[in-house]
Each structure stands twice: as C-alpha cells, then as structure tokens.
Amino acid sequence: MRVSKRASGALAVGAAFALVASGCSSGNNDGGDTGASKDGAIVIDGTQPENPLVPSNTTETGGGKIIDWVWSGLVEYPNNGGAPQNLLAESIDTSDSKVFKIKIKQNTKFHDGTTVKAESFVKAWNWAAYGPNGAQNASFFSDIQGFGDVYTEDPDGPDGPKKAPEPKAKEMSGLKVVDDWNFEVTLSAPTAVFPTKLGYSAFMPLPDAFFATTPAEFGKKPIGNGPVKLVAWQDDVEIKLTRFDDYSLRDKMKIKDVTVKIYQDDTAAYNDLLANNLDFQQQVPVSSLAGDKWKTDLGERAIQTTVPSTGIIAFPIYDKRFTNPKLRKAISLSIDRQAVTDKIFFGNRKPADSWANPLTPGAEPGNCTACKFDVAQAKQLLQEAGGFQGKLTLSYNADASHKEWMEAVAQQIKTNLGIDAVAVGVPTFAVFRANINNYKMTGMYRAGWQQDYPDVENWINPLYVTGGSSNDGKYSNPQVDALAKEASAAPSIEEAHKKFAEAVKLIDQDVPTIPIYFSGEQSGHSEKIKKLELTNVGELDITSVEL
C-alpha cells in the first residue's frame, strides 16, 4: 500500500481560508490554449518522492506515480478496475498455479536503448528480494520458491542486539531464465493470484545500468521501459518527463512533455489550477469540498471518481475486552455510515457495505451484513455480550484529517449503545503506527487499506489471515485461515474467488474490523486538457491525455 505524504498541516489552514472566501464565485480565466496534442506539454501536481526512484523501494504516492508512468510491467490494470491484462507479457501460462511460464514481447526497449529481456526481470526481482538490500517491497516476492534463502529475518526484531544472519543464497531458486524472451517462475505453493500481482510496481524490470551503479544514483535519473522517460528531477521543484519515442507497447503517449510540479500545499496547487497554471490536480484540497465549492469553481473540469481504498476502524483483538465477536458486531451495527459520509464527507465518500472494495475483481458488493445500521440488533447483541465496561477509546493520527469522522463515529456508538466512547488523537502518524506495530493499542483505532493489485485476495490475506502482513489486531480464525489457504492455492482465479467468498462469510460473522467508508477522489483539470482518464487507483493515466 502506498501512503500519501502531503503535508497535512495545510488542512487547518485551508479550512480557515474557506471561511474567508466563501461566497465568492469561480474566477477562471478563459485561456485559449489549444496546442496540438502531438507536441503538447502539461503541468500536473505532485509531491517530492521520498526515496530515489527504484520500483521495489517505493511505497509512497509521490514517487509511486512517477514509477507507474516511467515503467511498464508484464501485466497492466485496466482503468475501469477490472481484471488485469497482459502488457509486456506475451503470455503467462500455468497448469497448476505453481509453475508459471512467462513469455515477454520481443525487442521492447529501456529508455537507454537496451533491450528488455527475461533476465531484466529475474535480476530485478532477485535484487529486491535479497534481504541485505533492504528493499521496502521485498515481501512481494515471498511467494517465490527460495525466498527464505535470500531473505532472513532478524531473530530478535530490529530493536534487539542480534542482526539478521547472512542469507544462504543471492538468488531465488524459483526463478529461471530460459532464453532472452522466456523465463519460468516456480512458487513455493500454488498461488492463483500471482499473475495479477505482476502489474504492481515491485515487479518491474531493471536495465543493466541499475546493477552498474548504486540504487541511490540510479534512482535520481531512473531508466525505465514505460511510455515516458524521466528527463530531469529537481528536488522539491519539479520532475520533467517526456515521451519515449521508441515505446512499442499499446499505451503510447499522445502528448509530448509532462512536468510534475512539486507542491507542499494542495491549496497552492488548487489556486494554480484555477488560474490555469496547472493542468491537473489529482485531489483537490479539503477546503474546496465544503458546499461543493470545487464543482462550482471547476464546472465540467471537476472529476469525481471512486478509488479502491476503504476507511476502516480496527479492533485490538489481543485485548481481552474485544475478543467477543458479538460485542464487535454490536459496535459495527450501531454506526450510521450514511450519516457520516453525508455530513462529514459531503457525500464524496460512500458508506462501506462490503469487506473488499466493490471495484475489485472477486469482490461481492454488499456482503458486509455487519455494516448495516441497526440499533435494535446492536443493543440486543451488546446485551448478549455482557455489555462493555469502562471507556472505549477510538484513536486516530491527528496529523491528517481524521478527527471529524472519528468523533462522529464515537458519538454514534455513545448515543446508540450507551458505551462511553471517545475519539482520541495521537499527534503523529509515526507514533500512532509505532503503537499499532508493537500491539500496544488499548482501544479501537483508525486503519485504512488501499489495494496493491486488483483482486479480492489482497483484501483478505494481508488483513484477516493469521500472521498477515497487516493483520495488526491479531485476528485469528483457523477456518478463515484454511479457506484462504485453499483459495490462494486454487487452480484458477474463479475457484479462488469462490473460496474467498466463503472466507468472507466467516469474517462477516467475526467482525475483526469495521469498514466505514469507500474513498472517493475529487480531481480537476485545466481548460487545456480535452480528454483524460484516471487509472484504477485514481492516478492520471498520462497516456490517455489529449489536448
């Protein structure tokens, strides 16, 4: 999952501005900029990437979207959120979901003119998985046979005195190059969803140039194989991209130059957008959402989309008070999600009614029965569970705009169930996460999940399976584990989806977390852009832009 790093201090400031400026109408200039798409250039907003741009070491949105544009993977995720399609892959064949024969399209080029070969993938994946390289996305390779030999865990955790032992091998045994255009991936266990994962940025190929230098050097001027190449990156100022003319895959650029202007404050970017100095802003500031001001400002240039990300409130099930599923369900049923999304988010987010985001392949809309608003049943369940003693805290990180909706939820629990619920802000995300990671939460807490790749598997395994990478509440149900394991190992993706649906039914009984809302995104573009599409995660699809 990628995390947004926009300076959150701007929120309070922006709200104050809304008060001052309310009542003023839109002030667009009628710029007559209609250059031909062919040599066209646009300026879009962005944030400073935190790290040098190496695909397997990027987990935040600022760098992530540049990587998504500069690289093309084996498969791509269609903009409508549907099942992945082959892009660089000619074919991905398997008979048992364990051994995958991958054939890539011949003679596609990296931006430095070298050819993308099978070994460009194998070497890149081995580098990312090798423990001592410390890649942030290393865990994505854990399905591959031999991962345990290249990635060793620190026996007493990062704070202990011991260090992780030197890995036995440098390369995963499950990766074999057959020839320039073919390679074979053997997984340690059958995983039907593996081909779907291949579109995630961790699986991008790397040119030889990467291995001739350090990742830090390479990442300042990365060489990818996507429709645009990076021309120059000036820290905190802008990143210049231009069309890669030797690009031979389907999604070619229609315009020529793209400048990503780095903003610190989204209100500044928004004002530039209104003054036609900026051609695209992915998320307009919170201050412009009140009273639908952004729609008045932008008119037809306002774009409302849903993105595959869900706002969740989680339980620390390792705390004895939260072990009873009836109590958890009672709390979930007492929340009027529609009121929260209408009143707090002005209808820009939708009330959650299913466990996986409904845009995701394999997800069933409306399968969260615990997401209904039913005070009578909630009271009944609370009584059966023996009530709740003491104060119920709902914590959130106060450095982003979570206060309002968390307080609204706490108030509803208090009013509808009579539990002494109170929302508590933790100053920074770092402190908040540190407590969650160390299992030190003493009450419910805000969480969120944005899918890495479009499949229901990504909404179950990391969150609700014992030992899952983001199962921070330590929820554990052996039946769910067994079903999820069966589903992951199913011979086909359809079979997998069926099994996952069964697992979700059990999860729906246990209510390990409470889905609250499905995220929306509110973007805007300048008068210059005549046509554009957003990707499945709400980023600008720069290859679709026409002027």
Partner: protein, 308 residues
Amino acid sequence: MGRYLLRRLLQLVPVFIGTTFLIYWLVWSVPGDPFAGKCGDRGCPPNYRAMMTEKYHLDDSIWVQYASYMKNLFQGDFGITFGGREISDIIATSYPNTLKLAVVALAIEAVIGLGAGILTGLRRNGFLDNLVLVSTLFLIALPVFVIGFVLQWVLGVKWGIINPTVSNEMRFSELIVPGFVLGSASMAYIARVARTSIAENRRADYVRTAIAKGLPMRRVVGVHLLRNSLIPVVTLLGTDLGALMGGAIVTEGIFGINGIGRQVLRSIVTKESATVVGIVVVLVVVYLVMNLLVDLLYAALDPRIRYE
C-alpha cells in the same frame, strides 16, 4: 572596538554548541520510530528497518550520535537524509530562496513601515496618523496565512494579476506579494515603534536646540531626529531577518516556495535530526551575526555609544 568584536565572536562558540545540541536532543526525543510511519499502514519490512538503523547509527546513544554528527559537521559534511539526499544540497538550494524572500520582506517592511512611522510621528493625531494606526492594528490582528490566502486568491485567481504561486526562478517581481505577506506584521510593528520613537524625540532638548539654531527642518529631521530615533527600529529590523527566515514556513507553503520552512517541517515529521540541525545551524549563525551587526550599528547611529 577590536577587542569587543573578538569577545563577541568568541561568545558565539558556546551559543553555537548549545543550540545545536538542544535542537539535536529535541528532535531525537520526538516520540515515535522514524520508520514506523514511513511505509504506510503496512509498516516497513524488518530488513529495511535494520539496514536504515545501521546505516544511520540510530541505535547508538544520543551522545555518540551527536558527537559523530558534530565531527562530520566540522569537516563540512552535513550528512544525508533517509531518502539519500545530501543535506548540504538541500541547504544550498533552499536557503537562497528563503533568504531572497526574507530580504524582500525586510525591504518592504523597512520602506513602508519606516515611511509611515516618520510621517505619523511628525504629524500626530491627523487623518494619516489615524489611518496608519487602524491599518497597522488590522495587520497585526490578522494571522499571516489569512493575509496570504486572501491576497493569493484575489490577486492570483480572481483578478489574475499575479501567478498564485512563485515560479522556480524566484523573480523579484513575483516575490513582492509573498514578501509583503511575510513582512506585514513586522511592518506594522515598525511603523508603530518608529512613530513613538520619533514623537518622543521630537520633544527632546537637542531637537529644540537644532530648531532654535535655525537649522532647516529637513536637516533637523533627517540627521538629528532620525538617527537617534532609529535605534529601536534597527533592533527590530536586525533581529527580524532571522525571524522572517525561520517564520517563512507558512508563507512558503501558500506560495509554493521551495525554502527552508518545508524542509524543516518535513524533517521534523520524519525525525531526521541531521536535516533539522543542519538547517537550524545555519539559521543560528544568521541570528548571531545579525545581532552582532545590530550592536555595531548602535555605535554608528548614536555617538554616545562606544564599545571597548
């Protein structure tokens, strides 16, 4: 004079070490693990954390960390950020921008503030005096971000006279509005201090003497009155450069200027002590030097002040 200067310069050393340690210690004691929030809701893989901890010596005690930081600093090495950027590069690109903005702000507040102060100080209780009193009160009462957002919206979006944000070239013409915003509160203070100071000295014996001697009013005000009345104003202006640079964070954010404000904010949030200290070290030097310059200026302005 020479001995005074030397003494003052030597005083800078303990102040410098004290401030850097305090800052280092403060950032170090910000709760939270720098890598706990870095990878989003999933958390960073342990190997990544282990590698970063070792690379940045984060498991050493604060004394060891601070000592090695200072050692590198004296060799001209500011260190690198968690993202792998040279901190000296960050300082070299962001400082000139903030400095430019602060100097423009200082110039605006000096010219307008002083001008208004002199005019009203000489003609008290007139229409102009009341106008300046009310408008300065207004500027002092309004927070900087309100002035910033309103000017940006009205001039940049509504009327289209300026660009809402400052371009990368940082042209002087683009900095006038941000500079005005940044210097607005100080400008109001300077106008008021200058007014009071002039009004007071207007009744001083030496001014009466000068007028009685038959000196032209121009000379009485320009030489005798102004020089003596400037001392509090110069104190304000001199210390203000440092304050403007450190306080430009809001203005920089509103107008999208790549200055030190955003860097300090970012590094405090991500717990990068080295970046915070690096930037603050330079700021501390600016403060110290400006203070010294102000003290030396007193002697030039007021002949009664001598340094030994």
